[in-house]
Amino acid sequence: MVSIKKRRSAADDFDVYFRDLRREFEEWGGKLFERPSWNQKASTIEPLRDMIVAPTEVVVTVDLPFTRENTLQVRALDENTIEISAEMKRKMSFRELGITHHVGEFQRFHFQSRIPVPVQMKKMKIRFRKGMLEVHIPRGRARSESRSRAVGQK
C-alpha cells in the first residue's frame, strides 16, 4: 500500500487555524442557544453577550441591565478564559419575569467564556456605561504568526 502524504503548506495551516476558530465560535453559539439562560441552583442569570475578534484586539460586550457597578468583576481565569460577574440592584424573581412554573430568584449575572485566539489578558481594559460592559483585550501572537515579512523584502 502506498500512502502519499502531502506536505502542509502555509495555506493549509491557515485553513486549519480558521476551521478551529469557526469551531470555537460554533461552540460559543451552541452553548448560548441550547442551555437555559439561568442557573436556579446558583441564583444566577446569564447576560447577553457578543464577541468581536478584530485584527489587533478581542472585544467582548455584555448587556448588564440593573447592575450595581461597584460589584462588577471581570477576571482572567487563565490565558484564554474570562469570567464576568455582577450583582443586580435588586432581586428578580421568575414570577417578575413572567414565569410561574419555576420558583426562585436571581440577583447576580455570571458567565465564563473562552477567547478563541491568543490574547494578552494582563493588558485587558474595561468600560462600563449605561449597563453595557465592553472588555478590550489586545491580541497576542501565536507561534505560527510570529514571523512577518514586508512585500518586496528578501
Binding site: 439562560s37 442569570i45 446569564e46 457578543d50 448587556d63 441591565p65 440593573f66 428578580m92 453595557m132
Partner: protein, 241 residues
C-alpha cells in the same frame, strides 16, 4: 383566524423580532398604551409547532391587535428565516382585504458604537416616491442606499409591487441587544408620520427591565438573523443605477 371587529381603512403596523427587538418592544408598548385588543391570529401548519401561553390559554405567536384606526401585527418569537415570505405575504394579503390605507414596519438599523450615541436617528425607506416624499416632509431622514434584510424588506418590496403605500421606519440600534431607547425613537417617528401618538415615558422608565426580560427572545432572534445574513445591512452597496 379573526377574533374581533376589523376596522376598514386602518394603518397596519408590523412589529417583528429583528435587530435590537425594536419592533417587538415598540409594538408591545403600543398594545399596552393604546389598549389594543387582539383581533386576529396567524395559523398555519407550515409554521413551527409553537404556541404562546397567556394565563393558561393558547395563542398563536403571531397575532394582530387593533382599534378603530390601527392594526398591529406582532410576533412574540422570531419568524423562521424560511417562513418570512409566507408570513409577511399572508399578512399583506389579509390587510388588503381589510382595505388598510398604509403599512408601516417598525424596526431598527444596527450601528456600531451604539452605546456612544446620545441621539438615535430614525431612517425611512418607502414603497414609492410619493410615500417617501410625504415621509420626508414629516422630518424623517431617508435611508438612501444600503441593504435591508428580514420581514420589513419583504413587506416593502411586496407593497411596492402591488401599489400599496408602505414605509419602513428604522431606528439606529444595537444589533444583538434589546434596545428600548430605539423603540421609543421609532414610536416618536411613527407619531410624526401617522399622527398615532404613544407616550414613551413608561417605556424608557422600564428600559432595564425590558432588556432583562427580552434576553431569551433576543437570543432566538440572533439565530434567525444569522440564517438571514442580517449582518449584510452593514455592507457598503455596489451602486447599480
Amino acid at each position: 383566524m379573526e377574533k374581533g371587529r376589523i376596522p376598514s381603512g386602518a394603518v397596519m403596523l408590523f412589529g417583528f423580532p429583528d435587530v435590537g427587538l425594536v419592533g417587538v418592544i415598540a409594538a408591545s408598548h403600543m398594545i399596552e398604551e393604546l389598549n389594543l385588543a387582539e383581533v386576529a391570529q396567524v395559523e398555519s401548519r407550515l409554521l413551527p409547532p409553537l404556541i404562546v401561553l397567556h394565563e393558561g390559554l393558547p395563542h398563536s405567536a403571531i397575532r394582530v391587535f387593533g382599534n378603530h384606526d390601527v392594526l398591529l401585527a406582532v410576533s412574540e418569537t422570531p419568524v423562521p428565516a424560511d417562513m418570512v415570505y409566507l408570513v409577511v405575504d399572508a399578512l399583506i394579503d389579509w390587510g388588503r382585504q381589510k382595505k388598510v390605507r398604509m403599512m408601516i414596519s417598525l424596526s431598527g438599523i444596527p450601528v456600531q458604537e451604539r452605546q456612544d450615541l446620545k441621539e438615535l436617528k430614525v431612517f425611512a425607506a418607502s414603497s414609492s416616491v410619493e410615500v417617501l416624499t410625504a415621509v420626508k416632509a414629516k422630518g424623517i431622514e431617508v435611508l438612501m442606499e444600503g441593504y435591508m434584510v428580514g420581514p420589513q424588506a419583504v413587506m416593502l418590496m411586496r407593497c411596492a409591487q402591488i401599489g400599496l403605500p408602505a414605509t419602513a421606519l428604522l431606528a439606529q440600534c444595537f444589533l444583538n441587544y434589546p434596545d428600548p431607547e430605539a423603540a421609543a425613537e421609532v414610536l416618536k417617528s411613527l407619531a410624526k408620520v401617522t399622527g398615532i401618538g404613544v407616550d414613551v415615558a413608561k417605556l424608557l422608565e422600564k428600559g432595564e427591565e425590558i432588556r432583562l426580560k427580552a434576553r431569551d427572545v433576543m437570543k432566538r432572534t440572533q439565530e434567525e438573523m444569522s440564517k438571514m445574513k442580517k449582518s449584510q445591512e452593514y455592507d457598503i452597496p455596489v451602486y447599480v443605477s
